[in-house]
């Protein structure tokens, strides 16, 4: 287990370094002038030059890269050109909303994926119809699901709000976790909890849908293979009910591929965050990243990319641990 953790930590550093290299390479490839965009059209050349010097944009790219790595090692992600805040501060503002959304969506995807996967294993006509539905569902792009959800649940049925993280008339508590579902309970504010909950439903479901379908199909296929194994036949011959055989004997052994798929799908989920946060006006990292890209705010883009990259590596590491739990053979590898 210790070597697994060590390998993952090395992978984390390597991924972070790779991401910084890629974002810096993009700065060199894309011909843009973020400093001019920042100070505005009427700023005199002297003001532009002064800001360029202040921000270090007048240095050669390799030198800036080394400076950035040095600052990164000290936890400094530079200052956003758009918000003029330290990027670490901005990430602290926007990350909790994304964390809450991503965790909810991941939980929803896992629950839906396992539920649908087990239904598929059931076989028969319902399973065939469900499989057809899953293939159809998987072909709907996330932005379309989001728009359809808003049209149905907000505009037509008036059941759920279309945008934001919480009702605009409510004041947000200042921590401690900045996850509104948690903080509202800690502060004993049921109105806030309810508002946060109903605002979360559509974005979380939209984000969870595609990963859930992928997990369901992988789990079903894996279960179907396992259910043909000798030990399963033995369990059946002992007179155990099919449901018990599936849940007690087959599911744990079939979980490996589904867990791997969950880890991969988390990357997809993070990719979908930009679109989902945009459409649902969810004040998270996706929205921050989208606005930063439009501004060529490279410190913000780099900081957000690093954070999302780290999250991806950490989640996949957690998946590895879960797999090791599900299949003890992995621990010795």
């Amino acid at each position: 287990m210790a070597s697994l953790i060590g390998r993952r930590l090395i992978a984390l550093v390597a991924v972070m370094f790779g991401l910084v290299v890629i974002v810096f390479a993009l700065q060199a490839v894309i011909p843009s002038d973020p400093v001019r965009a920042m100070v505005g059209a009427s700023a005199s050349p002297a003001v532009v030059a002064q800001e360029r010097h202040k921000l270090g944009y007048d240095k050669p790219l390799p030198e800036r890269f080394v400076d950035y790595l040095d600052r990164l090692a000290h936890g400094n992600l530079e200052t956003s050109l758009r918000t003029r805040n330290p990027v670490t501060q901005d990430l602290g503002t926007f990350a909790p909303a994304t964390l809450e959304l991503a965790l909810s969506a991941a939980a929803l995807a896992a629950a839906l994926g396992v539920g649908l996967g087990l239904l598929l294993v059931g076989g028969g006509r319902p399973a065939r119809l469900l499989r057809l539905g899953l293939i159809g569902g998987a072909s709907i792009p996330t932005f379309l699901t989001a728009l359809l959800a808003i049209l149905v649940f907000y505009s037509t049925l008036h059941l759920l709000p279309a945008s934001g993280r919480v009702s605009d008339t409510l004041v947000l508590p200042n921590g401690p976790t900045k996850l509104l579902l948690v903080d509202s309970l800690l502060h004993g504010e049921p109105n806030l909890f309810w508002s946060a909950f109903v605002h979360l439903i559509m974005p979380a479901f939209t984000l969870a849908l595609l990963p859930a379908l992928a997990i369901a199909r992988t789990l079903a296929t894996s279960c179907e293979q396992i259910m043909r194994e000798d030990y399963v036949r033995t369990a059946r011959s002992k007179g155990l009910r099919e449901r018990r055989v599936l849940l007690r004997h087959a599911l744990r052994n079939a979980a490996g591929p589904a867990l791997t798929m969950s880890g991969l799908q988390f990357g997809l989920l993070l990719g979908g965050i930009v679109v989902v946060e945009q459409i649902f006006a969810w004040p998270g990292l996706g929205l921050y990243l989208d606005q930063s890209i439009a501004y060529s705010d490279f410190p913000a883009i780099t900081g957000t990319t690093l954070l999302l990259g780290a999250a991806y590596v950490v989640v996949n590491f957690t998946v590895d641990l879960a797999q090791a739990w599900a299949d003890p053979r992995i621990r010795t590898v």
Binding site: H158, A162, S167, D168, A281, Y288, A294
Partner: protein
């Protein structure tokens, strides 16, 4: 069937959730965007809350740094300048200064200030406050500081008189004072208390201390900003007690929220093609603005380095048809190099479709493969214009690739003009209602919006002369500059775009200044009874 405790628990949880959902659903029927909170706000209280969306966060609510368009309504609602523009015109009227005089040599401006004006922290506004605000803008030295650089010195002979001495006459100086990005007066107490090491820049990223009708009481980046009616405003108290500005980056979501009462108005980027099919509970109001659609031509490489080929572009596009088709009546073909309201009597633009001339131009080109870039906009109108121009140019024999670019990329073009696109569409607006604020950023060789390197030493020289020339001569010089640019065929003036506000039917009192794009005076808005 007997239910075990283990089985009963999830059923109870689901039933409870459904019951709660039922409660929530019942309260969402009338206005889902606002009433899911269970905040208990009464209908009369809600009636006095105005909700408007922004497509993106504003950069910062600091008037000495802010230089974007999205966010103008926050700055103009929380701060006042010395003078402003009258509604629907370019006429300068009093704001914090009740009157002003300009010395015959145009070097000294004396502003007589309004008495009894309080900052949001309760302190009284005086000439010293104005002086310190001007000094801060110069010290912060960001983009809007250029408006104050002509100042040689400032005097405060008494608490209600503020005198500015210029280094040399600057014709647009009083327009700078009226610009939405012009100097605003900030409470000196707050500036001193929160000065830190950055002239209170950190504090002003989330607070204000102006004299405007609203106070910035919450700045929750990415989510919403709250403006609360000032209790001590010197002018007529606004109708709305609170303005909630929600960050809603998707125009489709904004439209659905407007339709369902979640927001009261959409201030810009509403798709023009949908204006004729608005739902019955909303209406659109259109106002003239100085927003102008321009086509930049890259003369630093073939084919448009050839003046004859460039000139044929005049005949390629049917501009009235293009503008009508793309903007659905929310723009008109430009009549000159400047917005007509800031420079009247300009000669007519020499653009007219002519298939023969257009085809001849394309034939004479050394390459027919060209790139047309446009900057991204949420309404999609610039993409539509790009596609229509592409079609017109294709008829003449050009092969046009249309591509979307972001603004910072456009700012980077001057660094490598050979790699820049051949043509570029961009919508721009001047800083104020003065021809200099348009010509200097677009036509001067170092102008900030001179994206594709237009360079004409005569134009630079004329602009420098016009800056301090007597009024009549200056007007003539600006006209000459405009004519030179039109003759160069390096910038084409396609359309004058209107400000279009789409509002709930019950919202009245929409007032707008052409020089303040995308912005209505929030303090003038009211909700009609019933």
């Amino acid at each position: 069937m007997k239910l075990s405790r283990a089985r009963l628990a999830p059923i109870c949880l689901v039933a409870g959730a459904l019951a709660l959902a039922g409660c929530g659903a019942a309260s969402t029927t009338s206005s889902p965007g606002t009433s899911t909170s269970g905040s208990g706000a009464s209908s009369s209280a809600t009636d006095q809350i105005l909700r408007i969306p922004y497509l993106a966060d504003m950069s910062v609510p600091d008037p000495d740094i802010f230089y974007d368009i999205e966010g103008n309504s926050v700055i103009l609602s929380t701060y006042d300048g010395l003078v402003t523009y009258a509604t629907g015109s370019t006429k300068i009227i009093p704001d914090l200064a009740t009157s002003w005089t300009i010395s015959p040599d145009r070097l000294t401006y004396t502003f007589h200030l309004r008495a009894g004006v309080h900052f949001h922290d309760g302190s009284v506004m005086t000439s010293e406050s104005v002086k310190r605000s001007f000094q801060r803008r110069l010290a912060v030295n960001q983009a809007p500081a250029y408006m104050l650089r002509p100042i040689a010195s400032m005097d405060t002979p008494d608490p209600l008189t503020f005198v500015v001495h210029l280094k040399s006459p600057v014709n647009p100086f009083i327009d700078y004072m009226a610009s939405s990005w012009g100097p605003k007066v900030i409470g000196p107490g707050a500036l001193a208390t929160h000065a830190g090491s950055d002239h209170a820049q950190t504090w002003l990223q989330t607070h204000d201390d102006g004299t405007g009708p609203y106070e910035l009481t919450a700045f929750d980046r990415g989510r919403q900003y709250v403006l609360t009616r000032s209790t001590d405003y010197w002018g007529t108290a606004p109708y709305f007690k609170e303005v909630l500005i929600k960050i809603t980056p998707d125009i489709g979501t904004q439209q659905l929220e407007l339709q369902n009462g979640g927001v009261d108005a959409i201030m810009h980027s509403f798709p023009a093609s949908e204006l004729n099919s608005l739902p019955s509970n909303v209406h659109a109001e259109e106002f003239p603005s100085f927003l102008r659609l321009l086509l930049y031509v890259n003369t630093n490489k073939p084919p448009f380095d050839n003046p004859a080929v460039r000139a044929s572009l005049r005949s390629d596009v049917n501009i009235p048809q293009l503008v009508a088709e793309a903007y659905s009546g929310t723009a008109t073909p430009s009549i000159g190099a400047y917005p007509e309201a800031i420079l009247p009597n300009q000669p007519k633009l020499p653009y007219a479709p002519d298939t023969k001339l257009a085809t001849a131009g394309a034939k004479a080109a050394s390459t027919k493969n060209i790139t047309l870039a446009y900057t991204a906009d949420e309404s999609g109108v610039q993409r539509r214009v790009g596609e229509l121009i592409q079609a017109d140019l294709a008829q003449a024999g050009w092969k046009v690739t249309v591509k979307e670019v972001q603004l910072p990329q456009v700012y980077g073009y001057v660094n490598n003009l050979k790699a820049a696109p051949d043509l570029m569409l961009q919508t721009n607006t001047p800083d104020a209602s003065h021809p200099d604020t348009w010509a200097r950023i677009l036509f001067d060789s170092t102008g900030g919006l001179n994206f594709l390197g237009f360079k004409d030493p005569t134009v630079d020289s004329l602009l420098n002369k016009a800056l301090s020339a007597p009024a009549a001569q200056a007007t003539s010089l600006y006209q000459e500059v405009g004519q030179d640019v039109v003759n160069s065929n390096e910038i084409f003036f396609l359309g004058d775009v209107k400000n279009v506000f789409v509002l709930n039917k019950d919202l009245t009192g929409v007032e707008q200044v052409p020089a303040y794009p995308w912005t209505v005076t929030l303090a003038d808005l009211k909700r009609a009874a019933g």
